[in-house]
C-alpha cells in the first residue's frame, strides 16, 4: 500500500535528492611566491639587475623601454567554489595576484619598484542571486 502522507513523501524526495547535490572547493597557484622581505631589499638607486635576479629569480616578463627596461614578477592565486543543487549550479572564481614591476635604467640600475600584494585576498565565494 502506498503511503500518501505529504510529509513522508517530501522527506523521501529529499533523501533521494541529497546524494545528487554536491559542492567543491579548489585552489590553484601560478609562479613562485614573492616574499615581501625579499622585495623590500630592492632599493631604487642602490640595487642592480643582478641583485633583483638573486632575490627573485628570473622574471615572468621583460619589457624594453628604449634603453631602459621593466621586469614583471607575478604570483597568482585562483580560488574556486561551486555548489550543485540538482538542477542548479552555482560557481564562483576569484583570481588575485602578488605583483612586482622593477624598472631599470640603461646601466641596469633599479629606477623604480611597484608592488601589489593581493593574492591572499582571493576568496572562496559561491555566488547568490
Amino acid at each position: 500500500m502506498i503511503d500518501t502522507n505529504p510529509l513522508l513523501r517530501a522527506g523521501l524526495a529529499l533523501a533521494l535528492a541529497l546524494p545528487l547535490a554536491g559542492c567543491f572547493l579548489s585552489r590553484s597557484t601560478a609562479n613562485p611566491v614573492l616574499p615581501p622581505e625579499a622585495v623590500a631589499q630592492i632599493v631604487p638607486g642602490q640595487s642592480t639587475a643582478d641583485d633583483v635576479t638573486r632575490l627573485l629569480g628570473a622574471p615572468n616578463e621583460v619589457v624594453q623601454l628604449g634603453r631602459r627596461s621593466a621586469w614583471r614578477y607575478e604570483h597568482t592565486v585562483e580560488k574556486q567554489a561551486a555548489a550543485f543543487l540538482i538542477l542548479l549550479g552555482l560557481r564562483g572564481v576569484d583570481t588575485q595576484s602578488d605583483r612586482v614591476w622593477v624598472f631599470f635604467d640603461e646601466a641596469d640600475n633599479v629606477l623604480h619598484v611597484g608592488t601589489l600584494f593581493q593574492a591572499s585576498e582571493a576568496d572562496y565565494d559561491v555566488p547568490v542571486f
Partner: protein
C-alpha cells in the same frame, strides 16, 4: 474545459516531461585601484614613481613611442543560463537562455619620454590599451 485550464494543463504536461537546469557563475579578477589614489595623480606633474607609489604594480607596462603606458585592469563578470529540453512529438525540443553581464574595466596612464604623466584614461581595457609592437630601435635615437 476553458482556455486557461487547457493552457495550464498543457504547461503542466510539458514541465512534467521536460528537463530543466540552470547555472549561475561569477568570476572576479584583480581589484580596482581606490579612486582617491587615482585622483591624487596629476597630468603634467606626476611621474612613473608617483603612479607606482599610489596605485601599486600595474597589470601591463607597454612601450608607447618614446614613452610608456601603465595599465591596471579588473573584471567582475556574472552570467547565468537556463536550459529546457522536452520531447515534442518525435523530436527533442531544446531552449537555452543565456545572460552575461561583463564589466571588464581598466585604467591606463600614459607617460612621455621624461616619464611624466601626459594622460589618464578610464574605460574598457581592450579599448584603451595601445597595440603591442616590436621594441623600437634605440641605436639612432636622439631622445631617450
Amino acid at each position: 474545459m476553458t482556455c486557461a485550464r487547457t493552457a495550464a494543463a498543457l504547461a503542466a504536461a510539458l514541465l512534467g516531461a521536460a528537463c530543466v537546469d540552470g547555472d549561475y557563475n561569477r568570476s572576479r579578477v584583480f581589484q580596482e585601484p581606490l579612486p582617491e589614489r587615482v585622483d591624487a595623480l596629476a597630468v603634467g606633474t606626476s611621474d612613473v614613481s608617483d603612479a607606482l607609489e599610489h596605485l601599486g604594480a600595474p597589470v601591463h607596462v607597454i612601450e608607447v613611442g618614446l614613452g610608456l603606458a601603465l595599465a591596471w585592469g579588473w573584471a567582475d563578470v556574472t552570467d547565468w543560463n537556463i536550459e529546457v529540453s522536452a520531447p515534442i512529438g518525435d523530436a527533442q525540443g531544446n531552449f537555452r537562455f543565456t545572460s552575461t553581464d561583463t564589466t571588464t574595466e581598466g585604467l591606463v596612464l600614459f607617460f612621455g619620454p621624461d616619464w611624466r604623466l601626459t594622460a589618464l584614461r578610464r574605460g574598457y581595457l581592450g579599448d584603451l590599451l595601445p597595440r603591442r609592437q616590436l621594441p623600437r630601435d634605440v641605436e639612432d635615437e636622439l631622445v631617450d
